[in-house]
Symmetry: D3
Subunit: 237 residues, 6 copies
């Protein structure tokens, strides 16, 4: 029995609010239950130095938790003077995932930066970030087309992500904090609309997991992410 009485495969209520702030070219607030992440996509002309002269664009991401997004306050990274390993790991994951959704040649020498700032955390912030960031990026691409910066749509396919895990011996989908903090295994899965995998990151926090459990978690993720694609599509219409 899950603390929230959800079934093993049941994800939390998800809401996707577009145009949440006014300045960004794409601005999405995504909520998975009590997890709330603001995803702002910014368009900038030009590309970072290491990409120059290749006729291709670049997509990057930054991730941060507000100090009091969690039960107890954590130090502000700007004040400590560096981003922690967890932050860097997550924003690299988000950026890689987003780049897998776009044809960088069609993007031209432009950069899209997606800032994922966690306003409130209750588990699954990185997968919520990816799912929301994709919508914000799509809005930024539309803005670029409306402005005439892009002639064609460089989006190859939508992407979405969910966390799955082994909780008290059972595979479950979309872990909230009370589940995540005691789960034996935690796995983040990023997929394309076309049913393929972009990233799979499974970690045995408590107990090693079997190949069968791995398969069950992947199946749960597959089903959950299908629902997320529906929700992204409704939000975009």
């Amino acid at each position: 029995m899950r603390p929230s009485s959800r079934t093993a495969s049941q994800i939390r209520p998800v809401t996707i609010t577009r145009n949440f702030t006014i300045h960004a070219e794409g601005s999405v607030l995504i909520e998975f239950g009590d997890t709330k992440v603001l995803c702002n996509a910014s368009v900038q002309e030009g590309v970072p130095r290491f990409m120059k002269g290749q006729g291709k664009g670049w997509i990057t991401a930054e991730y941060s938790m507000l100090p009091r997004a969690t039960h107890t306050r954590s130090d502000r990274e700007a004040s400590r003077g560096k981003q922690g390993g967890r932050t860097l790991e997550i924003q690299r994951l988000i950026a890689r995932s987003l780049r897998a959704a776009v044809d960088l040649k069609l993007l031209g020498e432009n950069t899209i930066t997606v800032d994922c700032d966690v306003i409130q955390a209750d588990g699954g912030t990185r997968t919520a970030s990816i799912t929301g960031a994709c919508v914000a990026m799509v809005d930024a691409l539309s803005w670029m087309r409306a402005k005439g910066i892009l002639k064609t749509n460089p989006l190859k396919h939508m992407i979405a992500a969910v966390s799955v895990g082994i909780y008290k011996g059972n595979p479950i989908a979309d872990l909230e904090y009370t589940e995540d903090s005691v789960a034996e295994t935690d796995m983040n899965v990023v997929m394309t609309e076309t049913g393929k995998l972009i990233e799979v990151q499974g970690t045995a926090e408590g107990e090693p997991f079997s190949f069968d459990e791995m398969q069950e978690m992947l199946d749960l993720a597959h089903a959950a992410i299908k629902e997320l694609f529906e929700l992204q599509r409704s939000a975009l219409n």
Copy 2:
């Protein structure tokens, strides 16, 4: 004529939403028109090293703008590895102002940290932060009393703040970005409910200002802050 058609003394619509997030002991979203700041007050046992053994509490603040709170994206301070001078200046101002509102002896050896994160900026973020942070701090103090951590209320008086300035030769209250960016003078005023001054910071960005203009700006601030105290009081009831 102001871009927003407001009169010289007219402040923008202000809303104060308490309990905006679920984890912080005090959590307030304050909006001055399009300026939106999330103020989260966190209570921690103990005080910083330099305050130990004095039987007094401590109140501090941190301030940050989300990278895309503004028209163009600014670098994330955590990623650059340090907080800029403007950020440090503002969070020192917020913290000093909050400490002026509380009897630190009655607070006991406890620390309240108020995080002011600007979700969206349209001028006046530091004064909005102070006005919202005071409400969040009051909620944190109530939480401490409810938990039995405090026997009496250490609040001496509410504080609130507004920006005033000289815009095209005329003193006006509560500048929005389009006004602020071309104002000759910009002044931030922090006051107590009891009609006294906590901080006055006036800067001639373009043209030096006269003693008479200084007086007119102070009068505008005084009137505006009175309105803000009304709004704080309604929010707290």
Copy 3:
């Protein structure tokens, strides 16, 4: 009664020594009683990146206290690896004040950096810095004219600064450390020779201050700064 037996409006003996060091284009040691600040103005061709291509010059400042300028040794900022908030706040104030004294278009694409290093501190280091830095800057401008770098004098007017405050209930001018450390209110005022205000920064360290007290402090500052302009003028002749 002030510890030094000065009257409320009486400033400390001020001396301004030009050409204190040999390398800088302008080099001034300014002393307000036991407060001693070395102000070195350096001229560099070109402007910082964010100013390029505007046909305008730039003036900036850096401030630092020698570790043992004070009663007890404070950590060296270079060794701690960053400048503190107080330092950044002060050097931003000095630089803004100096820029308000100069027509940046007439300066051409040149940069003047004024380093204010506090050799010995006894209160009022930031206002002494501004008053001395203005003289050093004037010497650097003369050097530029002598070298043929400037055709006309870009100086709009001299600036000078003083601290005022409320000490044991009474407004006083030019606080020394023993006064400053217990003052209820501390206010720094920067003015032009033409009798206008550049910066007013008043802070209630202990007790909030009234509008009347604010006025009295401004009057004291006005009178004191008039004396400082006299001293700057004698030094420059």
Copy 4:
């Protein structure tokens, strides 16, 4: 056809040299073909602050590439002043994997730090690090038992790791640099001797991968890691 003429499932020659340096409690040079990593395990009394008072030990890891371990020289992280995201991500992975191999309660309040320094890189440095670090850790545990610091062996099971991927459309094991740099998908798998999974990190660098490809890569990894356990065992006898 692989550049090295290896079959899809064939791993490179692996050698494990114990006691490679003289000071560390466990010191292993592991080689996967041209990839060479020095894994030094250091035993320290006590645990980090966040672990104190729990009666448990701690295992951590640090990872670094010598600047010229690669084809072109990369900046030294100590000289740039911070560890990059890739480094932090890898050393977090190594440390998590090692902790999954040990009963931290039986370790007592002691810390083992395993430094993985890449002397020469040719793909698969993180999985080589894990496989070698486990042997170095086992030697450090033996040293602790010989010294009487431990009464029982806290090792739960050996761990080992390998990289697998999709290269020109085919799943292959143990990618070298020329394969890794153009692989469509790259996956790192960490397993226990008991046939369970500790970590699975799959990333579509070029093309998304199917669930079937995922399964094939896992099978290749499973077979390769079995060989690695044999090699660890021979090295330890």
Copy 5:
């Protein structure tokens, strides 16, 4: 012929001004011609962590050049966020030299920090720093005895230092900047009053030097340092 018309062995006029600032326990301005260094010695109770519990004291030093101590302005290290290699090298040299002059056991668990801040540079700043810092340290030791912190004098012997070098093929003493910047070899020598060597640091900047030249430079240094001990003694009487 030297630019200053000095003979090969002739040092510049040296002045040692004690009590140059009012707060430090020892405060010396030392001048070697146009090189001016302020040496402030600060006494602090206790010792750094790595010295605790040994019943011994500690002596350390910090060195810095004011940004405009030199012909062209150099960046402020506090603002760049780290001390350069040259600075660290010099302050380690000063501190080692001072420690060689004192019996750390007789100092008790106290720390003396000597800050050497170069007000104006014209060559030989590190040797001037050592020579001045020794006098400032002696004053700090006297202060400690007067306060009753020390029962006996822990000074073993005075130390002093000078630079020597090969300039246009000839060995000379006490190089000024115009000599130093083109010298083939530069050597810094630190000695005790008792005629022994504490540090010898010779560097061939341009041309390698012979064993004979080494000997000639050492002889010049020996003679020059004897003069410096005379000057220290007069200053202290």
Copy 6:
């Protein structure tokens, strides 16, 4: 009697292994007994900014100890976020020494960076680094000639280095750790094949040393370095 039973002038067995790693243009493992340093020379087109446009090349060096090169683990500098003073001092020494061996004009606008990473430490790591780095640099220069980047050989002469010191009152050559840690004086000497001095750095760690002892140490160094040149020559043939 030395712990190793060596005579006063006897150096440890030295081995020089070229082509130790495969990627660097010059790669040397040098061993002085149990001290082992990997010296990798990397060739890069172009020069640092401060050298641009002078038609000259640049040679620089970086030095690091692996955390467990020593008896107890030391913190990793990359993880602490900065290089320590000792590291900077040593790498500046190595780089200066190497530059003294090469005609930078003949090198053209190219940079050679030599990374000296200490795999295992037993005293004398900086002098071993210099001696090995020179061989690695020579290999890099040969690579440049083979590639046609250089027309002539810019090497002026080989350089080599050794440590000498006063141990229990007697001058000895090539100190190992057990000697170095208690030596009264420690001196590092860098020489050219042509019998001249590049660097002499002598430090009285315990007792000041006499001019006679200085001479004896220099003689020991001279003899030892002659042997090192023999070993470099054999290695290069």
